[in-house]
């Protein structure tokens, strides 16, 4: 009975039950450990599972509760993060062979904030090598597998985050998103994932990939949990000069606010160009639900998103190649061929073109807002433009098919990172292969509160986020 509650419930409910002593942090943690140990051979979502440490943390929290002390908004909640969040003195592999035994000399600001909120650290999670890969393939640490069917991809690069949250081994996870790396695993694994506005959340103490487009974002079982984690980790950090000092209302409090009379935009161009019929049908069903909630649906024409994707493909390899230049020269063969092949174009892009691509961002963002969002509150887009593919179908390594495969999987996610705007991936059903799919809801810069408001309302009238993989069903 305890197990079912823990599997079916969420952060907010479990935190409340622990605080009221209806559950102990140890019971919750032990159940998650049992689930993680059961799932790991099939899914390979953990790089390290810290059983003893997690139980010790839980026992310490239970002692705090017995003394009447506050345990925080994540008190007793088992989480684990993509293995690129540094914790001083601990190994952070970044999913690579190169950093297999590398120990961090600092702790990520977001981990410090989550520590203060009382979470139980369950270990570190699998990921694409150096957060580069849209599928979940990893030759160094083994491919991560989808909890709904382990023959299918998890999406990447936060593969372990999607798989571990989807399998209910943990309640939430931090991933990172440079071109869709939170939203794609969220889509494929049936969980909620946020790519925040550039500058909302500190990136200090995490492995960089592309300075201009990297973001930190949570994956969770539902929207309200996601809002809670974002509330905890957002905000200015003097150690990350790209964070912005601005006051934002509580996102969790915005879940539940009415959306009647608000407007959703649906793009006429780009986003549905390669979408399958099944995905188009799913998005239409989402729009019908919002319409039934009193929201106006309006078609919009966006600027040339192909050009925006091209520009992001100038910025990404230029920055990644700058970060990886020494290793690319000195230990080239320690990279998976696909990862190396994605960085090496950076050797050939002239600095003036890279800088021009960065300079164009404000202009293109302004055009995007003026054309797409001046008359609506948010846009609805597909998460992945087609059904989740099998692992075998996406074994493209560095073949000529690689660029095409990556481009098509991240078709709907990549432009957002160049533009810097937020986007939330929300489960919206299952395709005929039995795998989850999702819609994205995106808006103006720093409109996370509005995105959570729409998405939470959707989850109040649907049950997709409550569905469980077969292995967990009764």
């Amino acid at each position: 009975m305890i197990d079912r509650t823990i599997i079916e419930s969420d952060i907010i409910e479990i935190n409340k039950l622990i605080k009221s002593k209806h559950l102990s942090a140890k019971e919750v943690t032990q159940t998650c450990i049992n689930l993680a140990e059961k799932c790991q051979p099939n899914l390979n979502c953990f790089i390290s599972l810290e059983v003893e440490d997690a139980l010790t943390q839980a026992q310490n929290l239970d002692k705090k509760i017995s003394k009447g002390e506050d345990i925080g908004p994540l008190g007793g909640i088992p989480l684990a993060h993509k293995d690129m969040y540094y914790r001083k003195g601990q190994i952070s592999t970044c999913g690579s062979k190169i950093r297999k035994n590398w120990k961090a000399n600092t702790t990520a600001t977001v981990l410090t904030k989550l520590d203060q909120a009382g979470f139980i650290n369950m270990g570190t999670l699998n990921m694409a090598e150096f957060a580069t890969g849209a599928t979940g393939h990893n030759e160094h640490w083994g491919h991560c597998r989808n909890p709904w069917n382990n023959q299918y991809i998890t999406g990447g690069s936060s593969s372990g985050s999607g798989s571990a949250v989807g399998s209910r081994s943990i309640f939430g996870s931090l991933g990172s998103d440079t071109g869709g790396s939170v939203r794609l695993p969220a889509t494929a694994c049936g969980v909620v994932g946020l790519k925040p506005t550039h500058g909302l959340i500190s990136r200090y103490g995490i492995m960089p990939l592309s300075y201009s487009m990297d973001t930190v974002g949570p994956l969770t079982r539902n929207v309200k949990d996601n809002a809670r984690i974002t509330d905890i980790i957002k905000g200015y950090d003097q150690k990350d000069t790209t964070t912005i000092n601005r006051t934002t209302d509580s996102y969790e409090m915005q879940c539940g606010l009415d959306i009647k009379g608000m407007r959703i935009g649906v793009p006429r161009n780009y986003y549905f160009e390669i979408a399958s019929d099944e995905i188009k049908e799913k998005i239409n069903s989402v729009l019908k639900i919002f319409k039934g909630l009193g929201v106006d649906i309006i078609e919009v024409t966006l600027p040339d998103m192909h050009q925006i994707t091209h520009l992001s493909n100038i910025v990404f390899p230029s920055e990644a190649c700058a970060i990886h230049a020494n290793w690319l020269r000195d230990c080239r063969d320690d990279y998976q061929p696909q990862v190396r092949t994605r960085y090496e174009p950076g050797l050939h892009i002239p600095a003036n073109k890279y800088l021009r691509a960065l300079d164009m961002r404000p202009y293109l963002l302004r055009e995007y807002i003026e054309k797409g969002l001046n008359n609506v509150d948010v846009l609805i887009l597909p998460g992945m433009p087609f059904e989740v593919p099998k692992i075998d179908e996406t074994n493209v390594a560095a073949s000529p098919k690689m660029a095409e495969t990556i481009a098509s999987i991240s078709w709907c996610t990549r432009p957002t990172n160049y533009l810097g705007v937020p986007s939330l991936s929300v489960p919206c059903g299952f395709t005929s292969n039995g795998l989850p799919t999702a819609f994205q809801i995106t808006g103006r810069p720093f409109s996370e509160g509005t995105l959570y408001r729409f998405a939470h309302t959707y989850q109040e009238v649907t049950t997709w986020h409550k569905e469980l993989p077969n292995s967990l069903s009764n």
Partner: protein, 69 residues
């Protein structure tokens, strides 16, 4: 005429990592680089030159206001 020459790509890669690219790799890379460089030139051709790079964070903040009703 192809904008980026496969031989140029091969030479840069050779100089950097002392690894020779296969013919199909250098041709494919040259082609995709050409598309990217054409895209940036096309998008930026009508825009004014800036004396300094634009402050992207300030623009994000400015554009964060609610929609114009």
């Amino acid at each position: 005429m192809q904008r980026v020459k496969p031989d140029t790509v091969a030479n840069i890669s050779q100089d950097f990592a002392e690894k020779e690219l296969e013919i199909n790799q250098r041709e494919s890379l040259a082609k995709s680089l050409g598309v990217l460089l054409n895209a940036i030139d096309s998008v930026s051709k009508d825009l004014p030159l800036e004396s300094e790079p634009a402050d992207f964070l300030a623009v994000l903040e400015e554009l964060s206001q609610e929609r114009i009703k």
